[in-house]
């Protein structure tokens, strides 16, 4: 199982300029999370802070019981071995061919024989559709291939956490979808925790389990995908629709005067951009048939169901809609039609005999063994989580 990443009160500034402050979130183990946000809100900086390339001023980032922000250099190098990172341009080593690039982590960190390395590397290149290109130099291939080679290199050590910086930049929509499919397939195979930083709306709507958004130097929200996708928050709506009409401006944010002037302009008939109203929660992409089901998906459903009553009503509705009949029975929630008609309050109580327990946080209604059930994030914000918890396989 992938490692859990707990970020608490993280604040980063360059000189007097704050990039973001008090970011608190938990990347649930084995789940795919996405971080959205307008350009320049420090998404990449956040990624780099998570792996200790940049030192945040305050806060913690705990992985397997080790705080990245304050740990020693040798600990940092150890923790980094859990990570696979895909940089925007792939960040391949320009002087090595693809094979050597992908083999690099294996040669540095393992005592594998050259034949084993070869098998391993070719397998990963095959997986990313690069079979036959292993003798090429990074300068000789297209941006999309570089990106896939970067992914192959990130995967070769079988990481527990995979961080992806803008997988779609420089890729056409089709390849973006293929690479998203690849993420989900990898997730199904090795159950790694994913964090994808992106501003591709299609990807954000169909791939991740959890979505967060950075805006105005803060984390606006982070939670199950349904929460953000059904949100009425103006920033979120504007971002999902890609319109000019809203609080996000060309530079970071707009003041009242600009907002009013623009409003008048749009009312007068100026096109605010965007194509159609994006609403609702589309079906999530699934691993390619034939692969094992995603363990993270199962854990996520359990986790989300325990916190269902804390979510906004629209998100609850969307979550219940997305369940199969069996799952609804299992978790003791009613079919969407009944909920929609009969009960607008945000507390769908179990009506079925299958789910007798109450819906307080932490109380499980399902029949899963206790260690299979993800806990609600709030419950584990102890100042010092026990070492190794939520981590190793």
């Amino acid at each position: 199982m992938g490692a859990e990443v707990v970020v608490e009160g993280l604040t980063k500034s360059f000189g007097s300029q704050t990039i973001w402050r008090d970011v608190t979130l938990t990347l649930p183990p084995g789940e795919v999370s996405a971080l959205l946000g307008p350009s320049g809100t420090g998404k990449s900086v956040f990624l780099k802070s998570m792996i200790g390339l940049l030192k945040p001023e305050r806060g913690k980032c705990i992985i397997n019981g080790i705080d990245i922000v304050s740990c020693s250099e040798s600990q940092l190098y150890e923790v980094r071995k859990l990570f696979g990172v895909l940089f925007q341009d792939g960040a391949l080593f320009g002087s090595m061919n693809l094979f050597d690039n992908v083999a690099f982590p294996l040669r540095e960190h393992t005592k594998k024989s050259e034949t084993e390395i070869r098998r391993n590397v070719l397998e990963k290149l095959e997986m990313t559709g690069l079979a036959g290109a292993e003798r090429k130099l990074p300068g000789e291939i297209s941006g999309g291939m570089r990106k896939r080679a970067g992914l192959a290199r990130a995967l070769v050590l079988e990481p527990e956490i995979i961080l992806v910086d803008e997988p779609d930049s420089g890729l056409d929509p089709v390849r973006t979808t293929y690479i998203s499919q690849l993420f989900l397939d990898v997730n199904a195979q090795i159950d790694a925790t994913f964090l994808i930083v992106t501003h591709n709306i299609n990807l954000a709507r169909t791939v991740p389990d959890n979505i967060g958004m950075l805006f105005r130097k803060e984390l606006v929200m982070f939670g199950p995908r349904e929460v953000l996708l059904t949100s009425d928050e103006p920033v979120v709506k504007q971002f999902l629709n890609g319109r000019m009409d809203g609080p996000i401006g060309m530079s970071e944010e707009k003041d009242q005067a600009t907002l009013a002037a623009e409003k008048a302009m749009f009312e007068a008939g100026h096109h605010a951009g965007g194509v159609e109203e994006i609403t609702g929660v589309p079906k999530q992409m699934q691993p390619t048939p034939g692969l094992p089901p995603r363990a993270g998906d199962k854990r996520r459903t359990d986790r989300v169901m325990t916190m269902l009553h804390q979510l906004p009503p629209k998100a609850q509705q969307a979550i219940i809609d997305s369940l199969t009949d069996e799952q609804r029975q299992h978790y003791g929630v009613r079919s969407p039609a009944v909920v929609a008609a009969g009960r607008p309050t945000p507390r769908p109580r179990p009506q079925q005999p299958a789910g007798p327990a109450g819906d307080q946080p932490g109380v499980q209604r399902g029949q899963l063994p206790a260690d299979q059930v993800a806990r609600i994030p709030e419950n584990r914000f102890s100042p010092r989580p026990p070492r190794g918890q939520g981590g190793g396989q």
Partner: protein
């Protein structure tokens, strides 16, 4: 952690850079002894640095030796000590000229190349990628380069000394009509063995400095591709400044510690 961003005063940036430069130097020394040593990278870099610096160093040292010899020859002749020309030129070349020439060439030719190489890797996020893969860039890239610079400067010093002295000899004998016997005989009149040691120590230290400065600027370039160019420029200038300053200190210490040869 929180107090870090508090005080701001003029020259803070310069102090910070100096501190970081020293920290990198210390890291290089520390990580030199960390296994596994990057032998392959070390040999490749050493070969490369030797390749780009031997010829320019020799070409610079011939006129250098000639100038020293011509200038001194004239003055010494006026004083009526023509037989000491060899002694003085050997001393000047071995102790001062040779290590400086080595360092200038190593910094200018090899240091610039190293700085550009590492700078380009930095802005292409290759260094970040390496760090993220759990490989220390200082251990993997900087240590072999700095050690290669040191070793090559040390060895180059010998070459430059010999070529410089030969150049001085040639010009003194051919152009100034000096006597070969007197020139050669006076070699050891003033020079002594510690002069050679200090020369080698200087060369090694200058090579080390050139390597560390080049790598430091390469790892911390100003933003953008132009930043790499600026970094290369700065690395050479900083090395030169440091070089002459360190040379001054070392010479002063040497002259105090080692008594001049008499008789």
């Amino acid at each position: 952690m929180t107090s870090r961003s508090a005080v701001s005063f003029p020259g803070r940036g310069a102090l910070e850079s100096t501190g970081k430069l020293f920290a990198l130097g210390a890291d290089v020394v520390r990580l030199t002894f960390k296994r596994p040593f990057q032998t392959r990278e070390f040999i490749q870099q050493g070969w490369f640095i030797a390749g780009v610096s031997i010829l320019p160093a020799m070409l610079v040292s011939i006129p250098f030796g000639a100038v020293v010899s011509l200038q001194l020859g004239q003055v010494v002749n006026q004083l009526g000590a023509a037989s000491f020309t060899g002694a003085v030129s050997v001393l000047a070349i071995i102790q001062q000229a040779s290590p400086i020439v080595c360092a200038l060439i190593v910094a200018g030719a090899a240091g610039a190349a190293i700085c550009a190489d590492i700078g380009a890797r930095t802005i292409r996020e290759e260094i970040d990628a390496m760090e993220v893969l759990g490989v220390s860039a200082v251990h993997r890239l900087v240590v072999p380069r700095v050690l290669a610079c040191t070793l090559v400067a040390l060895l180059l010093n010998g070459v430059v000394s010999v070529v410089g002295v030969l150049g001085g000899y040639f010009f003194n004998i051919i152009l100034q009509g000096g006597t070969p016997g007197a020139y050669l005989a006076s070699f050891s009149a003033l020079a002594q063995l510690p002069d050679l040691w200090i020369s080698e120590i200087k060369a090694a230290l200058f090579g080390f400095l050139a390597g560390v400065v080049a790598c430091y600027r390469g790892l911390n370039p100003p933003p953008g591709p132009k930043g790499v160019g600026d970094a290369v420029n700065q690395s050479v200038v900083i090395t030169f400044l440091l070089l002459f300053f360190v040379n001054f200190i070392l010479t002063a210490v040497y002259l105090t510690v080692v008594p001049p040869k008499t008789g």
